[in-house]
């Protein structure tokens, strides 16, 4: 028993340590990429080309004092960052990084992802309420309404994947897409793919759906009262969730660990030496770059427009496409079904 426990713990850390390093460098690349998009350099002083900048930031936050506002609910105020990071890292248990590279290969993987991502909103709610601050409460209301709304569209988009693959096991979903890039689910599920990606951006409260932070309206939203490490934990959870959305998008719609030329005559065997995780991370990096690209490109949505987009556009699109998908599966169309 202790041997399995030991192995499980080793696997968990083998996922979490690269994840945290990934988060650190995601923040670095965000500042660099957006810097270049806005015709400036971004951080380039700490270390070679600024590569040590994220660690400098983390150290700075580590040494800052954590202040608790007056009349704040102290216990809940300090519990909120934990509530937000817990689900954000727990989801990674079911993510397959390559064939068989998964901590917990459970049958209800997709459902587990939905459950864990819906738990993340408690960190936001508790943080906003316990802060005893108007801005934090407003940010909380916005964030939770937005997350609850977009969760429906996101869930429906994933139902499409579940129908196409015929399984909720994430490794099974990837295996159902085996083959070159036109075999992947992004093609038959194109509208669902777009809906998933838009709701993924909205779920993580990122630009152009970042009214929950809305620094020009409500200062910084739900985490306005947090400082030091408590703030850093929220930051960590947000970026871990963003990377998660990218990786799930790659698994559900872009064939996970398969190379784009898998099963083709010449290119397929020629690229067989590349480990599967490289392909998965390359696909995820594309989405991660899109996150930064959106932030540098789009102006912020107005709040009522966000709600309208979620309820009146994305959800009807998913419902209609589920019907179309049923017909496609029933007729056995294409290389997919």
């Amino acid at each position: 028993m202790f041997e399995t426990l030991f192995w499980t713990f080793s696997k968990i850390w083998a996922v979490l340590i690269p994840l945290f390093i990934g988060v650190a460098y995601f923040t670095y690349f965000e500042r660099r990429v957006i810097g270049h998009m806005q015709d400036r350099r971004g951080p380039n002083r700490v270390g070679y080309k600024g590569l040590l900048q994220p660690f400098a930031d983390a150290l700075k936050l580590l040494f800052k004092e954590i202040t608790v506002p007056t009349h704040a609910n102290r216990v809940l105020f300090l519990l909120a960052p934990a509530l937000s990071i817990g689900p954000a890292v727990a989801v990674w248990a079911v993510i397959p990084f390559a064939d068989g590279w998964v901590v917990a290969d459970i049958n209800a993987g997709l459902l587990y992802i939905l459950a864990m991502t819906s738990l993340g909103v408690y960190g936001i709610i508790v943080a906003g309420w316990a802060s005893n601050s108007k801005y934090a409460l407003l940010g909380t209301l916005r964030a939770s309404a937005q997350v609850v709304s977009y969760e429906i569209a996101m869930g429906f988009a994933l139902v499409g994947v579940l129908m196409a693959a015929g399984t909720m096991n994430l490794s099974g979903i990837v295996e159902a897409q085996a083959g070159p890039f036109w075999n992947w689910f992004w093609l038959p599920l194109l509208p669902l793919f777009l809906v998933y990606w838009i709701s993924g951006v909205a779920e993580t409260n990122r630009a152009p759906f970042d009214v929950a932070e809305g620094e020009s309206e409500i200062v910084a939203g739900f985490h306005v009262e947090y400082s030091g490490m408590a703030f850093a934990v929220f930051f960590l959870a947000e970026y871990a969730n963003m990377i998660l959305i990218c990786v799930i998008a790659a698994i559900m719609f872009l064939g996970g660990w398969y190379s784009p030329f898998h099963g083709l005559p010449v290119l397929g065997p020629a690229l067989d030496w590349v480990p599967g995780i490289v392909w998965l991370l390359l696909k995820a990096c594309f989405f991660a770059f899109c996150y930064l690209w959106f932030r540098a490109t789009f102006p912020r949505y107005r709040y009522d427009q966000i709600m309208r987009l979620g309820w009146k556009v994305l959800i009807p699109v998913t419902v209609v496409w589920l019907v179309v998908l049923t017909v496609l599966i029933y007729a056995g169309v294409g290389p997919w079904f």
């Binding site: 809940l76 459970i106 459902l111 939905l114 408690y122 997350v147 969760e151």
Partner: protein
């Protein structure tokens, strides 16, 4: 090992459930209810009902309680007036509690159900919870399932019609009009003749 996990989560569940009804602050009560739901989900997963357990988290913890907290957070509820009726409602509360315990006892102790000793049948090693539930739900129980869905839909429509109230004179935006706006009906470019300066600097000073 499994028993230890069961007793741990069962103890937290009972503790959280007690806190829900004893804690003063309604927001904290709602958060304890979330904790109770979560622990109940863990117990379900422990007996092999993984679908039910995760569905409990998705539906109750992820959606229902979030909306519940939403309302509780925005209402300014003070705990004192809520305590006043405690003695008055106590007899009814005890009656309901006793009734529920009796009902549970009848179910657990009856020979037909045989929960005591018989326990829950061990699931097969390759049993796929979700596939089994899906198959049964959409073949054997398809009519009850669909009827339940329609009843829920009716409830939604009823709730919306009951609370829908069109007020006169509200300033809401016509989204369609906003979206169909273009340059032609927002912007007017005027051509004006350049006029000669009147007087000049010196004229103003006088």
């Amino acid at each position: 090992m499994e028993q230890a996990v069961f007793y741990l989560f069962a103890a937290i569940l009972l503790f959280a459930a007690t806190m829900v009804i004893t804690v003063r602050n309604p927001v904290q009560a709602a958060l304890f209810l979330v904790l109770a739901f979560f622990n109940a989900a863990v117990l379900w997963v422990l007996v092999g009902a993984e679908f039910l357990g995760i569905a409990l988290v998705v539906v109750y913890v992820g959606a229902v309680m979030v909306l519940f907290l939403f309302v509780v957070m925005m209402l300014d509820i003070t705990a004192a007036p809520m305590r006043e009726g405690f003695a008055r409602y106590l007899p009814v509360g005890i009656l309901v509690a006793v009734l529920m315990v009796l009902q549970l006892g009848v179910v657990i102790l009856s020979d037909d159900v045989a929960l005591v000793g018989g326990l829950i049948p061990e699931p097969a090693a390759d049993a796929d919870n979700i596939r089994a539930i899906g198959t049964v739900l959409y073949t054997v129980y398809v009519y009850p399932f669909e009827i339940a869905a329609v009843i829920l839909l009716v409830a939604i429509v009823a709730a919306i019609t009951l609370t829908l109230r069109r007020r006169q004179g509200t300033k809401h935006q016509n989204i369609e009009e906003q979206l169909s706006a273009n340059k032609a009906n927002r912007l007017r470019v005027l051509k004006m003749e350049a006029e000669p300066r009147q007087g000049g600097e010196g004229a103003e000073r006088q």
